[in-house]
């Protein structure tokens, strides 16, 4: 564990948005965790990288478009957003397709980062 009661929390997002609620509820707990002054990292891999795709338009499915919230994370000092390179490539996406600035990591670097965490929550 890190000093002073601060733990490293990682939120691993592996599911596409809208098909299930996990992406939305993940955002809620991320904001709360930051409010508790913990060390927060967000990981997007597998279909989770789709959460960050620009241009989401949800009018036709009558569901709230929550993707602008990713842009608001910076305002809460949540700045560690990691995307796995292989997941991005397998979906034909590049950093330019994403709503926010992220750090793209290869799978080995991503694994190493996961290994450093105190608490990993999966969505």
């Amino acid at each position: 564990m890190s000093e002073g009661g601060v733990k490293k929390f990682m939120f691993v997002n592996r599911k596409a948005p809208y098909g299930t609620i996990y992406a939305l509820e993940s955002l809620e707990v991320v904001l709360i965790t930051a409010a508790f002054d913990q060390d927060v990292s967000l990981v997007f891999m597998d279909d989770g990288v789709y959460q960050l795709k620009k241009g989401q338009q949800t009018k036709g499915i009558e569901t709230k478009n929550f993707s602008p919230t990713y842009r608001a994370l910076e305002g809460y000092d949540i700045e560690k957003l990691y995307v796995e390179k292989e997941s991005l490539e397998a979906r034909g996406l590049t950093e330019a397709d994403l709503l926010v600035d992220v750090t793209v990591l290869g799978r080995a670097e991503m694994g190493a980062l996961m290994n450093e965490q105190d608490v990993v929550l999966s969505f």
Binding site: A16, Q56, R91
Partner: protein, 98 residues
């Protein structure tokens, strides 16, 4: 028969199972399955191959929600919910590959 798929082909085997077993007919990609119809996706090759046997449709509102309206693979036909209804009528039966 209309085959309805709602899972991403990169995390779940439903679309692949359908393509393995189903008699050629209509396939509608909905919800997270719309990713299968986007260019550059690792499943693109398999989908193009399937398009030689099946007529492939995608539910446009689900594609738009996911911000991929401009990535639709050529030859896939876009429908709205009304078009979804029509497909269930033009086919004698339907099967959801859950």
């Amino acid at each position: 028969m209309l085959h309805i798929i709602n899972k991403s082909p990169l995390s779940n085997g439903s679309l692949e199972s359908c393509l393995r077993v189903a008699v050629p007919g209509d396939i509608l990609l909905t919800e997270d399955a719309v990713y299968a119809a986007t260019s550059g996706n690792a499943f693109e090759g398999k989908l193009r191959e399937a398009m030689g046997r099946f007529k492939v449709y995608v539910l446009q509102p689900d594609l738009d929600a996911r911000g991929l309206g401009d990535r639709l693979i050529e030859g896939v036909t876009s429908v709205d919910h009304g078009g979804f209804v029509d497909l269930t009528i033009s086919n004698n039966s339907c099967q959801s590959w859950l």
